[in-house]
Amino acid sequence: MSETSRIHTVIKSGSKTSLFNFKEIIRYKDLLYFMVLRDVTVMYKQTVLGFLWAILNPFFQVVVFSVIFGTVAGISTGVHGLPYPVFSCLAIIPWNYFSTTFSASSNSLITTSAIFTKVYFPRVIIPLTPVFSKLVDFSISMIMLAGILWFYQYTPGSNVWLCFIPLLIIIITAAGLGMWLSSLVLQFRDFRFAITFLLPLLLYVAPVAFPASKVQEQLGDTVYNFYALYPMVGGIEGFRSSFLQEVIFPWKLVGISGASALFIFITGSIYFRKMEKHFADVA
């Protein structure tokens, strides 16, 4: 008690804000934990299939992608002998994590306004909650990946552990965009509509249905480097490559995307910190 009684808080207008208040977030880490737990518990409540949805959802996507892009459109995987379902599954799973996190996080402030207009806690916990809770779905859908790999008798290379690097890029991007968009959506509800049509566009641009090397072939090196500024390029291509033994891990692509992801994350947290004091007034 003697230690806590020394807590001294000053509240005033326009007080300086540090980039990321780690001390406070650590103090509220249990809140983040229970918010994530709430998300995970509530998600499949009152469903019959429950967590099976986390497998069924990407499974059907893989089927459709394989038939439409793999067979009908005849898009090559860029790797000789690599079955298209394996190729697309390795992109769809990280993409799903990104898109669900992105939209949940962007709308997070609107949906929780009843809470943050009544109690103070570090607001950044709100858009960060889906970043963690959607990892549960991601982990479950990895079971499906294992199933598909087993079905096609495909053994991943020894570089598999590298997949954590692109995964981290995807997580950072989702968190950064979540902080950006959640505060923008709260102020300008236009962004809500923007997100709904933006997400499919982002999916077409990302190397999900086709290999990133195709962009290099068709549009040249310069465009390819700029292409990598879209963090999902390095994220998805990197994730996929780490599983494929025939492919060299695209360090350059991942590096560019990583830098870009970090940029989004840092600017996102700056913008969020700057705006968070107005949230209760505009909500």
Binding site: T4, S13, R38, I115, V119, Y120, K277, V282
Partner: protein, 428 residues
């Protein structure tokens, strides 16, 4: 000097909060202008939303509204301070700044110690989660750690009295159970500075009693500081050492709790009535307006305070734009817990059919006012038919003073609750 510093728990200096309010827009006269306006609307909307945030202490203008201004006070460790005032006086804004929900436009607040604020019970309750899960979620939202909740868990469950349903989803709870669980969590926060809004105004009488008891326990503890917003004057008098009275965003009285409450009550009618009537005129439906309300005594003289046991005349000056046959006037008298005590219904008590002019006055005569001392509010309804009904809620509030209701020469004691009913005794 250093010792004096540590005595202070809350120090508020020159605090102010400004909001932008909408200004009425100019209506377009023709189609071309309307189309032009629609085209430039995005730019205008963008500026409007942008400007919501651009407020500084120098900001002035027609659309700037100061919800609080020049608020300064100190609260010492262990003190319980009440914050009173009419609706719209700025109490909630002050609490929101104190609890860091919204940032002040000017001035500053210093808090010494761990703060917990309760502007609502059960914030963040999720209906799909069980009682147990919600205890942890709600507890962490209110600033406890997992470990702290685990230590208090048994005590919270016991206090709530719903052990049997603790693993049931909250959506299956009755609203009473929900409130009990929520309050149980709140009661175990154990902060050094506690900031609470009218949370006690919810629930039944028994529950309120329990909450008041818990409040007293918190307040009585060594070194606990409490800031308490309430409309319940009895509770403020009972619980608080000191109090501040807010009116239109400013402190108009500061002193010990009893003095402040008395000052408020003596001036309540003048503080309350005119302001509220003005508000209703602006935002109410314009087809039926009450332009003024007068409280008169039996001699038809205007009074500021009603007296228990004396005749009370409520004279309502009205204007009606849309009329129908057979109007019914309904006057509801509510206590400070928003409970309706009695209703004056002209259909039953007025002999004949009321003939309303376009403007005029209606007087509702209540002989031997059966109310105890306290603050009361009035709802007025004019009803022609189901479709043509004008409701004016909380249009007026008035204060009742203790009086000799029974004519026995004895003034009503404070211990009574509810209303006074005329009665006799027979001793054999």
């Amino acid at each position: 000097m250093l010792h004096k510093e540590t005595d202070i728990a809350v120090k508020v200096a020159n605090l102010g909060k400004a909001y932008r309010i909408g200004i009425a827009e100019v209506k377009e006269k023709n189609l071309i202008n309307a189309i032009l306006k629609a085209i430039i609307a995005p730019i205008k909307n963008f500026r409007k939303i942008k400007s919501l945030k651009k407020l500084s202490s120098t900001t002035e203008g027609k659309d700037v509204f100061w919800a609080n201004r020049n608020i300064s006070f100190d609260v010492k460790k262990g003190e319980v301070m009440g914050i009173i005032g009419k609706n719209g006086a700025g109490k909630s804004t002050l609490l929101k700044m104190l609890s860091r929900i919204t940032e002040p436009t000017e001035g500053q607040i210093e808090l010494y110690g761990r703060v917990a604020s309760l502007l609502e019970v059960g914030t963040g309750f999720n209906p799909e989660l069980t009682g147990k899960e919600n205890i942890f979620l709600n507890g962490t939202i209110l600033g406890l750690t997992k470990k702290e909740i685990e230590e208090r868990y048994d005590s919270i469950v016991e206090f709530s009295g719903i052990e049997k349903f603790i693993n049931t989803p909250v959506k299956r709870y009755s609203s009473g159970m929900k409130v009990r669980l929520a309050f149980a969590v709140a009661a175990h926060l154990d902060p050094e500075i506690l900031i609470i809004d009218e949370v006690l105004a919810v629930g039944d009488a028994e529950f309120q009693k329990k909450c008041l008891g818990k409040m007293q326990e918190v307040a009585g503890k060594e070194g606990r500081t409490v800031l308490f917003v309430s409309h319940d004057m009895a509770a403020v008098k009972k619980l608080c050492n000191k109090a501040i009275l807010l009116q239109q965003g400013k402190i108009i009285y500061e002193g010990n709790a009893v003095d402040t409450v008395n000052y408020y009550l003596q001036n309540a009618a003048s503080i309350a009535s005119q302001k509220n009537i003005d508000d209703k005129l602006v935002k109410g439906n314009k087809k039926f307006v009450i332009t003024n309300i007068e409280m008169l005594n039996a001699d038809e003289q205007i009074v500021q305070l009603a007296e228990s046991g004396k005749d009370l005349l409520l004279k309502l000056y009205y204007q009606v734009k849309e009329k129908g046959p057979d109007p019914i006037v309904i006057v509801k008298i509510k206590n400070n817990l928003e409970q309706i005590l009695f209703t004056c219904l002209s259909r039953n008590s007025y002999n004949g059919i009321m003939q309303l002019q376009e403007q005029g006055s209606i007087t509702c005569v209540i002989p031997k006012l059966p109310l105890l001392s306290g603050l009361y509010t009035v709802d007025i309804t004019l009803k022609y038919s189901q479709d043509l009904t004008f409701d004016l809620e909380n249009i007026f509030s008035f204060e009742v003073e203790r009086g000799d209701f029974f004519g026995t020469g004895k003034i009503n004691a404070d211990m009574m609750n509810g209303m006074i009913i005329y009665h006799n005794w027979k001793v054999e």
